[in-house]
């Protein structure tokens, strides 16, 4: 299977990602407390009841961390799928029609590449109404450009191939081309998808750290932010169960995704 072809590092990484996804799926069932339950005693140290203690409002930190898995991975995968799809579709459109359509799409993509994505995303997220869907849309609509560029350059190389010329000859439409070239494009799509998932988590965490998006959603970024705002964070080891867990979760996720697409040769 695919797993067998992978190197050891990549196997470990995919295992970690798999664990992350599993946690995200079952998080609702293993969460000891509901995320809007703030009735616990505030600022408790870790115990059997509260594995990571409680925050200054009485939320169970472990539950918040688990909820972070759910939201971050959901956002990561949805925006990964959507932005990759948009990028790939646009690259096909642009290669098939060429001319003015190709030019227009390329110019838009170039324009978006010039401005750092995170700035546009923040800009739009601020003005949109603060919901998770808008955050996802903002991430999707401004991060498809790299996928598009990669896929397009790859496709352009295939346009001179015989099978493509043949399809054109028998007056095949864009879907026929797509069918012919999909397998050639497969590695690019997978790589960009993982890359996009990776980026989406980073963007989401950054956005929620800056307080953009739904202010009440409990993501890793929010958790990091509220830990940083807690004035006595550096006393009594609070930092170990308040700030470090979400930071480590984000870090490991991003690291695993990145290692997965590294070319080791």
């Amino acid at each position: 299977m695919i797993i067998k072809n992978l190197s050891r590092t990549k196997r470990i990484c995919s295992f970690i990602i798999f664990i992350y996804i599993v946690i995200a799926i079952i998080s609702n069932f293993i969460m000891p407390f509901s995320i809007d339950d703030f009735s616990s005693e505030i600022l408790q140290t870790p115990s059997f009841k509260h594995i990571l203690g409680t925050d200054e409002m009485g939320h169970d930190l472990f539950s918040l961390l688990l909820n972070g898995f759910k939201i971050s991975i959901l956002i990561s995968i949805i925006s990964g799928i959507l932005s990759t799809t948009i990028g790939v579709i646009l690259s096909f459109v642009s290669c098939y029609y060429k001319g003015i359509i190709d030019n227009t799409i390329c110019h838009i993509a170039n324009l978006l590449i010039i401005i750092p994505e995170i700035i546009i995303i923040m800009f739009f997220a601020i003005f949109a109404s603060p919901t998770m869907i808008n955050t996802i849309l903002a991430i999707v609509f401004f991060s498809w450009t790299k996928v598009f560029k990669m896929a397009r350059s790859k496709l352009m190389g295939y346009m001179d191939k015989n099978k493509v010329k043949y399809t054109f000859l028998i007056k095949g439409n864009i879907f026929d081309i797509f069918k012919k070239l999909y397998y050639d494009l497969y590695p690019v799509v997978i790589t960009s998808f993982i890359l996009q998932c990776n980026k989406a988590v980073m963007y989401e965490t950054t956005l929620s750290f800056f307080g953009i998006g739904d202010p009440l959603s409990k993501t890793w970024g929010k958790l990091i932010k509220s830990a940083m705002n807690y004035e006595n964070l550096f006393y009594d080891n609070v930092i170990f169960w308040y700030l470090f867990p979400p930071v480590i979760c984000v870090f490991i996720y991003i690291l695993s995704l990145s290692l997965l697409i590294f070319d080791e040769k």
Partner: protein, 549 residues
């Protein structure tokens, strides 16, 4: 060659060291000669007090920040006719004053021997000039609109005539108009740009030595001839500090006024070396309603919301105990104007739901949200970014009675301006200067009144309107008999507690920590310094405090 160069360097270094040394010495030996008290002074080390503070602009009257703390910096160098300490109003430039029978004419007798720091004596002319000048150049901190005329009767007597009776005149106007030297300011036409050395010549206890525009470091020297008595410190350094508590413990500052409540509590627990004092924050956190929305005009809806909010838990969890629970009558419970004859709203979800049902607001389509005339009670709730925990609690509380909120976090200034323009549905915000005279209830009066107060309470769009409230408000503002006025103000609070034009959620506490081994005697001023500025920066401390180092 190498040796030669290093020799030269060493030589140069030692020379420059020697030069420094001699320079220092000459300064030291020269000082006692210039100053008469020099002999006494050399006996003690220079007393430098270091405090934290924000960058609030050049501390002259018109160039400092319009915030309360900006005015306090001005007050270090500019005295006023009267001032306040922990007990209330005390004389400052004026040694005493009398009020005419019709309560419109105030006669102030000024202290003898007050001098501006440039040596010119302060006379009645300067007082008259200052009032006239502020009339001509409106000053954001205090309005002199109620003043009709100021006359200098003789060198040391000033008579101030008001247009109308204005009860809080002494505290709010005489206690805030900075007395500026006429000979300097009479030629100043653009006071907003006046920031030379001359602009800070006043008669206060401190003299500005330097202000760094970029870093916001203020260095003040003591005014050796201050008429109230000897200034206990020689130098005051105020600079912005990143982590106030750490700076205090590391002995970088002696007074931490920006310390956070939780930090100060921790400090009190851990380290008995430092003193922590708490005072009323004179800052109120309120839930604003937009009265352009039909159902929010129904009294019962607002009452139900208030019943549904657990204010005790709110203070405990969202504010970490750094506040006092809000009073339905709006006035701070420790204020002398507070009335206990008000309607109370103890946390009770049942009553809240009953109230909503009584006006026909129920969940008929069973989507978990109650409806009014078929429309869901679902609102956007705007809160300042740092108040998200509070928003979370309120969303939960109101969710329990079927009102859905969608929270949007913004920065403080945006919220203030949205409220001012009336472009909001529900908003949380707060404002300071919440103490002292009950003119602060003016924010609820729907028409023009004679009262002057900082425009911090304004709310745009359609407002709450209550004829009875307006009438009583205008009665009390001219009522001179304290008892009667208290009664009227009590009635106002009763109306507020019943009508709830705003939901008073909490009052901030103010906290400061300091090292008493350096300088002790800090106090909180009654009703706040100047116009209810809830900090510890009362200039009297520089005269009254004890230097312990």
């Amino acid at each position: 060659m190498k040796k030669f160069i290093s020799l030269i360097i060493i030589l140069l270094l030692s020379l420059s060291l020697a030069a420094c040394d001699t320079a220092g010495q000459t300064e030291k030996t020269e000082q006692p000669m210039t100053s008469e008290q020099g002999l006494k002074k050399t006996a003690r080390e220079e007393r430098v007090l270091r405090m934290d503070g924000d960058n609030l602009g050049y501390p002259s009257v018109f160039t400092s920040s319009p915030k309360g703390r900006g005015y306090l910096l001005v007050s270090f160098t500019f005295d006023t006719l009267v001032w306040k300490d922990e007990t209330g109003v005390i004389p400052l430039i004026a040694k005493d004053w009398s009020i005419s029978d019709d309560n419109k004419t105030y006669t102030f007798n000024l202290n003898e021997n007050i001098k501006f720091t440039d040596g010119t004596p302060l006379t009645a002319e300067d007082v008259k000039f200052s009032f006239d000048y502020l009339k001509e150049h409106p000053y954001q901190w205090v309005s002199v609109a109620p003043v009709e005329q100021v006359t200098a009767v003789d060198e040391k007597t000033v008579q101030i005539v008001l247009n109308e009776v204005y009860v809080p005149f002494v505290t709010d106007i005489a206690g805030n108009v900075p007395i500026m030297p006429k000979h300097i300011w009479e030629n100043v036409t653009e006071p907003e740009k006046f920031n030379t050395k001359e602009a800070i010549v006043g008669s206060g206890p401190l003299i500005l030595e330097s202000y760094d525009k970029e870093s916001g470091v203020y260095i003040y020297n003591a005014n050796k001839d201050y008429f109230m008595g000897e200034v206990q410190i020689d130098k005051l350094i105020m600079s912005s500090v990143k982590n106030t508590k750490e700076a205090l413990v590391a002995d970088e500052i002696d007074m931490a006024s920006n310390v956070k409540y939780g930090e100060a509590m921790k400090l009190k627990e851990e380290n008995s070396k430092y003193k922590v004092i708490e005072g009323p924050g004179l800052w109120v956190g309120r839930l604003y309603f937009n009265f352009g929305i039909e159902e929010l005009n129904i009294k019962e809806v607002r009452q139900a919301m208030y019943y549904a909010i657990n204010r005790d838990e709110l203070v405990q969890k969202a504010l970490k105990g750094a506040a006092e629970v809000g009073n339905p009558g709006h006035i701070h419970p420790t204020s002398e104007w507070y009335s206990s004859d008000i309607k109370n709203y103890d946390y009770d979800t049942e009553t809240a739901i009953e109230l909503l049902t009584s006006v026909g607001i129920t969940d008929t389509n069973e989507n978990g949200i109650v409806e009014y005339n078929g429309k869901d009670l679902s609102y956007e709730f705007i809160v300042p970014e740092e108040q998200v925990p509070l928003a979370e609690l309120i969303t939960k509380y109101l969710g329990d009675i079927g009102i859905k909120l969608e929270v949007k976090a913004m920065d403080q200034n945006t919220i203030a301006s949205l409220i001012k323009e009336g472009k909001f549905t529900l908003a949380f915000n707060g404002h300071g200067s919440f103490g002292g005279d009950p003119v602060l209830l003016k924010g609820f009066v729907s028409e023009e009144t004679a009262a002057s107060t900082p425009q911090v309470t304004t709310q745009g769009g359609q407002n709450w309107h209550n004829e009875e409230f307006n009438t009583i408000f205008n009665q009390q503002i001219v009522e001179l008999d304290r008892e009667k006025r208290y009664e009227l103000v009590g009635k106002l609070q009763n109306i507020i507690s019943d009508e709830l034009p705003t939901l008073t959620l909490y009052y901030k506490k103010s906290i400061s920590a300091y090292n008493p081994e350096v300088f002790d005697g800090w106090f909180f001023t009654k009703d706040g310094v100047s116009l209810a500025v809830p900090t510890i920066h009362n200039k009297l401390i520089f005269v009254r405090g004890q230097w312990n180092k």
